[in-house]
Symmetry: C2
DNA sequence: CCCCTACATAGACAGCGTCTATCAAACCCT
DNA sequence: AGGGTTTGATAGACGCTGTCTATGTAGGGG
């Protein structure tokens, strides 16, 4: 039964029988049969049938919610029992917005010393993808914006407040003093792509300052932005925490962006599943510790 | 997996392999094997082994919490899918304290008209048993006291406030006017047994009034109390809602018990499981409706 | 000390899940 | 419009797992 629910979740996520089967490590007929049996046992159609996957029925959508809970709780059970057996161990799968990637090391530092059997798997994703993956049980926790966008049924731990700086080569004329958002009208910029929340935040502040920008370079990667800034006359806007790793000993400089002193809270997001598994509880505790000592 | 968790829950409840197996409709070796495999899969001991059942290990206790959630959610999934298929249907298993048994008909009235495919199964239990059965998934909801005793992770809907009357044959000397708790010192009484919360409440009010009672007749059944009162010179103390069904056209009379005007909230208790299944949601809605029109 | 209760173990059997191979339908592109 | 491709369903074989009955073994009680 639980296996079938896992396959059902995979199907809803992949929207494709073949891919879902591959993701579950079974063949396509096996997954097809599992879904059919699930429908038989529950007595309702879960998936619109045709010669293609055409989405979930309303009942399928409701069933998906329950399936996620059941499968998630089952994983929690297994994980907690393993923790009881061999101490904190296993993988923590994290997804992180690009501008918070440098904060992950603050989170893992100390944690891995205390719990040497815990492995981390960190991937860079957009904030929307992070919430999706959290729902689909593809990650255990996320590091993303806590305000601004609706979060689901999750537990959040704020860690720091993002503040923004303009980053450019040290000889850039704007670097002599604080820069207002409104000053950026004609500055050549590299920015993150508009599907990313950081970019939407920046767009919003620029718009409020009456500025309209049209970046020549857009990317989902901060590294791409910085390497462009390094090699040319461009500037970029980055959160302090994302920028500082590039500033030490480089030819780059930065100045705070003011008016307004924009600030957005970034923190840990985890599925709200009472009680928390020991590993997750430890991670959340670590995040609360970070927030208290004020790493930003 | 889910079957094994069900067996594990049954074992924890029955504290006996044979009885748990019978409760699950399997033989004892099957259940033994299931528990053993569960322990193997989770990699921990769940049950203290000997030639007898000797309780759960700490890990078993934690696993039991998860198992209850997982099994409960699975049942919710099935129930909700059946509701989607054939409208509200199925059984609602209720456990009710004896003094609230007459209120059940208020709850079921109208409900069964609207939802003819819903069956009710009502059993009379003590408030402690009700909370136990709620945890063990043996009932879907309970009707019991909402104050006074600690409730677990449950949803509660208050329905009415219990108020107390003295019940005796119509010719009983005390029935001429309101009676104070303190007047009951030498009155021969029949009361519920001391393991029942109603009795503990009554004891408390009597004690506060400085009265010490020693009932000659104790029972877990209100019917037993009333039949004794009918046939002899005894009196009993009952909530209004429990008493009134016996008063109409009988040789009995009642007077309010005052000083203090004691009152205890009774209502519906259901496991807190988001989202609620359609039947349970409907039942809770019905209970809220009752509370609003003030059936007491 | 013996018997009874309680749980574990052994072996047989059935049902279910999974695989490979194949089919049917719908979509896509020329 | 038609051939090729993609997508999911179906068929049949095989192995695993869960369940049963029968039996063994260890404590507990009289």
């Amino acid at each position: 039964m639980i296996d079938k629910l896992e396959m059902f979740i995979a199907l809803a996520r992949e929207e494709h029988f073949g891919r879902a089967a591959a993701a579950q490590g079974v063949t396509q007929p096996t997954l097809s049969a599992a879904i059919k049996q699930l429908e038989d046992q529950l007595g309702v159609m879960l998936v619109w049938r045709g010669s293609r996957y055409r989405g979930l029925t309303p009942e399928g959508q409701r069933a998906l919610d329950w399936a996620r809970r059941i499968v998630g709780d089952t994983r929690s059970l297994r994980q907690e029992m393993r923790a009881a057996r061999e101490g904190l161990s296993g993988d923590i799968r994290l997804a992180v917005i690009p501008t918070a990637l440098t904060v992950v090391s603050d989170l893992t530092a100390g944690f891995t010393e205390k719990h040497p059997n815990v492995r981390f798997s960190v991937q860079s994703k957009t904030s929307a993808e992070i919430l999706d993956m959290l729902e689909n049980l593809e990650i255990d926790a996320g590091l993303t914006y806590l305000d601004n966008e609706p979060l689901g049924r999750v537990t959040t731990v704020p860690i720091y407040d993002e503040r923004y700086v303009l980053v450019a080569r040290a000889d850039h004329p704007l670097l002599s003093g604080p820069v207002r958002w409104g000053d950026l009208g004609d500055v050549p910029l590299c920015l993150l792509t508009p599907d990313m929340q950081n970019r939407r935040i920046i767009n919003q502040h620029l718009a409020e300052a009456g500025v309209d920008v049209d970046p020549q370079i857009e990317s989902t990667s901060v590294v791409v932005l910085v390497s462009h800034v390094l090699r040319s006359n461009w500037a970029t806007i980055l959160p302090v925490r994302a920028a500082e790793i590039f500033l030490a000993g480089s030819e780059l400089g930065s100045v705070p962006l003011i008016k307004p002193d924009a600030s957005h809270t970034v923190g840990l997001v985890a599925p709200h599943r009472e009680p928390f598994t020991p590993v997750l509880a430890a991670l959340l505790a670590r995040a609360r510790g970070l927030s208290e000592i004020g790493i930003a």
